[in-house]
Structures are given as structure tokens and as C-alpha cells.
Amino acid sequence: MRRLTWSHLTLPALILTLALIPGAPVAQTKKLVYWTHWEQNPDFNKWYAERGREFAKKTGYEVEVVTVPYQGYEAKYLAALIGKSGAPDFFNGIAHQWCGQYDFCDPMPADLARLWDESIPRYMVPIGKWKGVRYGTPIEHGNFQQMYLNADLFKKAGLNPDRPPKTLDEWLSAMKKLTSGDGASGVVGFAIRHKGHPVGITDKFLPFAHAFGARMLSPDLEKATGFANSAEMATALQFFVDLVQRDKVASLALGGPEDAFGQKRAAVIFRESWFFGWLRKNAPDVTFKVAALPCGKACPGAGALFPWTNLVYKNSPNKQVAWEFIRSISNAKDDLAQHESAGILPVWTANLESAYVKSRPDYASTQEMLKQPVPPTYFHPKSNELATAFGEAVVNALYGKGQPKPLLDEAAAKMDKILKD
């Protein structure tokens, strides 16, 4: 056996030395750090850094964008915001969570808040607010579901894709005509969401609930019993479950609803405005149209369970500068440029009639949905936990683990406990 000599230690020593070198070069300019977990929109994120370079000419502060993987981002955000050091100066988050459950947000300067309140569509005004105070700038318009339909499948079933169903009854009968199998073989009418976290399931069920005139929580968001388990809600859930179990126009045998639609195994999917970019890339041969969601007693309208906004961290030493940066991009022109770069809908009302928006396939349907009354919103600090409890009832009903009403009763009791706790 060879003797261990000092020369054997050179490599480890070299590696150790390398490890001690600080990784990022020491910044020459001062910078604002922005965190986002929107990995799906790299161009949207990059835009902050680009605008940051112009901002630096005036103020000396550049913007550094940190894209955090979605897989586990909550832990990183929480650790950093509690830890203060290493935290972002501003970040992409939900106001009622980061400002409501925790106290991490700096309120927006009053004049800027007024500017935003006046410049965005009506349904978006509560987004970014907590207890009447504006903390965040809404960054995503069109984060409400619309109906994507496969035009070819519509024609094949003898339906006119240019005259999509307007009411839930029409919609259901269209779904029946479109269905020719369970998706694994043949086509299903509706690509239903049944996988993943219960919060996501709640999100996809709520348009149905709202169409039936039900709501998940009381208007003051303090009570679930009588709302989450109301007769309307039970009817809505029964309708949802029947899609799978009785009418068989949706199937649990399919994987993700997006893939099912992309593969032409499902004729209709309810998805947000980002979806058409995905379709163009992954299923270029699907000819689709976008329409407003069908209405029942009420119209589902433009509502979102995940109101993403940009928030400024309360403990950041640079929070004034962060607000100045946000102010510098708070105008219709920047709003349009940034969102267009990522292929998503701009936020400002002034841009809703821009050439870019008009050229999108979801222009008319977006207009139509914006005209509908704003559906209930649930901007509560515990929205994740509440939506989980509710989503469990929905998915349990879908999988036949119980009847809608008792499951909703149980969920409502659980949600009330969460609300009180």
C-alpha cells in the first residue's frame, strides 16, 4: 500500500481553497433584490433587470432578479423573511398571506396606491390589499379561467366553435355531444383537474361553485358553515361530480388536464391566459378558440384564488428605493411592454384595448368576462389552509369517497375551526 504523503493533500487543499472563495463577485453598484417563483415567465422576470439598468443611471441602484424554483419556494421565502438578512427588497407574493398572516410588507406610498387603484380593472382593485391598505402591485391580469375549446372536435361533434355554449345547461349538453370515450380511448368533453394539491383543485372548482351562486366563505370571510356547505354549494359539487360519475363527460383516467387538451383527448379545458402560450409551444396542431366561462344562476366572472402581486419587504433597508423603482415602472407603457414580452395579458385598463391585446385569441372572451359581476374573493391570511380543507372535500367527492353534502359539512366545520384558531 502506498504511503499517504503530503502531495496527496494538494488536491483536497486546492478544492477547499476554491470553496472558500465567495461565489458572487462583490457588487460594485448598489442593487435592489427581487425574488419571484414565476419560472414559467423568464422574459417577464428579466424585464425587471433590464429596466433596473435604466433606473441605475438615475439612482445608482440596479435590480437583481432571483428566480426561485417553485419546488419548495415557500420555505425559502419564509426563512429569508423571518431571517431579515439575505431577504429580497421586493418580491412576488400574495398580500393577504405575507402581509396578513405575517407582517412582512411595507404599505405602498399613498399617491402610488391611488394611481394603481385608478389604473386597473375593477376586479383587480382588492388584489394586493390587506385590510383596505394597498401593499402590492398586481402583476397578473387574466389569472382567471376561461374556456379553451378545440375547434376541430367541436365541428366533428356537429357544434359551432364560434358559438360556444353560454349557459351551464348548454355547456353540459355540448360536453355530452363531444364525449366519445373516457379519454384513454376516444374523447372526453371536459378535461377536469383531479390531481395535485387540494388548493389547486379548489381553484378549478370555484368557477362552478360561483356559477351556482355559491361561495366558499361568508362575505366578511369569518364563517364557512352555511357557505362552504350551502345547498347551492352541494348542488354545484354534485354537478361537478356528475360530470365524472353520471354524465361521464370528464374522466379521472386522464393525467393532467393540459396534456389531455393538448393531445386532443379532451375538447374543453378551463384555464388562465398563460395557457395559450403553452398550447402554441407544446401542441401547435390544436386549433383552439377561447370563450367566456358558461354561466348558471350567476356568471363565474373574473376571480382569482392566487392574486400575485409585487410586495416590498418591510425590513429592507432599501425599501424607499424599491418603491421608487416600482413607481418608475408604474405606467401603462411599461405594463404593456413587460407583459407582451412574456405573452401574458397586461394589467392596466389602458392596455386592455392595445393592439397586442386585441391580437390575442382571448381578447373578446376577456372583455366579456370583465363585464360580468366580480365573483366572491377569499383574500384571507389562511386562504391556503382553508382552500386545502375545501379542496379535500371536492376531490374526495370526485373519487367517490362520500356524498357531496356530508363531505362539505365536514369541510365547513374544519374551515370554521381554522378560521377561529
Binding site: Q71, G72, E74, A75, L78, I82, Q97, G100, Q101, Y102, D103, F104, G183, A184, H194, K195, G196, H197, P198, V199, L252, A253, L254, G255, D259, A260, Q263, R265, P381, K382, N384, E385, T388, E392, V395, N396, L398, Y399, K401, D421
Partner: protein, 295 residues
Amino acid sequence: MRRRTYLDRQRRAGLLFVLPALAYFSLVFLVPLVESVIASFYRTVPGGASRFVGLRLYEKVLTDSTFWQSVRNTLTLLAWSAPATIVLALIVALGLHRLVSLRWRSVWGAMYFLPFSVSLVAAALIWQWIYDPVYGLLNYLLSLVGIPPQKWLQSLDQVLPALAVTNIWVRLGFDTMVFLAGLQSIPGEYYEAAEIDGATRWQCLRRLTLPLLNPQILMLSILELIFNFKIFDQVYATTQGGPAGASQTVIMLLYDTAFKYFRLGEASVMAVFVFATLLAVTLVQWRFLRRPVEY
């Protein structure tokens, strides 16, 4: 007198040898662990402050049916994966051990070991892709032999076995390696002696090989217990606990509770539960399975 100073010196030397590891682990793990235990007595109130509540959170978590359901799921998954991994690894190791050519033994050994080098998230995503009910490889292969498509990760009954297969795939190589090493360190004369006594191969395995592999079986059963009880990445990356909560494991719930619901106190209670359970079971395993082995 001289002997005592020698002993003292020995004691000091021993302590000094373990000191770097001890200091490191205390700083990096024990202090955070203690903080986490302390956190289990406090609840975070909106606004981020925390309030001492004694054992209230223990009561809350330990009477919560969702929590116990996640414990049941975890145990079911454990029961599907851990024994199967160990038994399969033993079979593979016995088979590899039989290969006379050392080169082939190491080549096949490497094949079995390879999945261990894939990160858990990547492994989970690959398997999710294979399990996909419509364009997954597995249903495609089944369709070739006329078996109708299965829902795998989307089925209430199949999700845990399907996740268990992923676990077994990831862990098999490591366990096999450990067994192989154990087998190779059993002196050949033992078997020669047994042969002279007229033992059948089955008797050799039961009376000779298995008892001599006891240390490996003990170590692996402890490691598999810990690995499977703390399962997180694979579930988080694929089913997120679904369908309908059928694969919601303890650590999944802990993660959601801490970072999605912002209830650090409740999450700490769950952490204490996991730690205490694993510690207790390991000590029992240690006591009952540990037998001295003499070569």
C-alpha cells in the same frame, strides 16, 4: 498512578477525536433541533409574533384526524417499500455473489447501484412519466400484452404501491451493496464445513448466511425505516399527497403546515413526533435484532 494518567490521556484523546464532529453537529443540527422543540410550545399569531401555549399544539395535532391519516399513509408506504427493498436486495446480493467472474459481478452491481446516483426529484419525475396513464411507458407495455390501462399514481389503491416501487428502485442498489459486502466477508470455510456436514443449500442460507448477515439486516432496517418514514421529495414532486389525500405523508403535511399554512408551531409538533417515533422504534429494533456476530 501512572496507569491512571495513561487512562486520563486516553479519555482526553478520545474526546478530542470526536470533538470536531460533536461540535459541528451541535451547531448545525442540535441547536436548530432544540429551537424546533421550543417552537412546538408556541403558536405564531398573525403579524408574525408568537405566544406560549404550553401543550395546546400537541393536543391539537395529536387529535387531528388528517394528521393520523398521514401517519397511516406513511406506515402503509413504509410497509410496501422497506421489507421489499431489503428482501430484494438480499436476493440480488446472493445472486451477484454467485457470479464467479468478478468483473461481471461489478458490472451488474453497478447497474443495480446506478439509480442511487439519481436525485430523488429526478427519479420521481422519471417514474411519474413512466406511470402516466395515457402516454406512460408502463401502460403502453401492458397494452402490448393485452392488460387494460391502469391509473397508477392517480388511483386511490395503486398510488402507494406505485410510489413504493419508486422507492425500491432508488434504494435497491445501496442495500444490495451492503449485503454484498457482508456476504463477501463471510469466510468460505464455513460453507465447506457445512457441506461436509451434508447441509442443503437452503439450510446453509437459513442457518449460516442469514444469522451472519444480521448486522447488515439490522443496519438496513434502521436506515430504510428512517428513509421511508421521512419520505418527502418523491411525493412532493409527483402526487402532492393526492389523489384525495391517499399519499399524504407526515413530512408532506409538516411541510404544508409550516410553509403553506405558516403554522410553525404545529409543524414543530409533527417534527417532534417523527423524531420520537423513529428514536423509539430504532431503539427497539436495536435491542431485539442486535446479536453479536463472531466470525
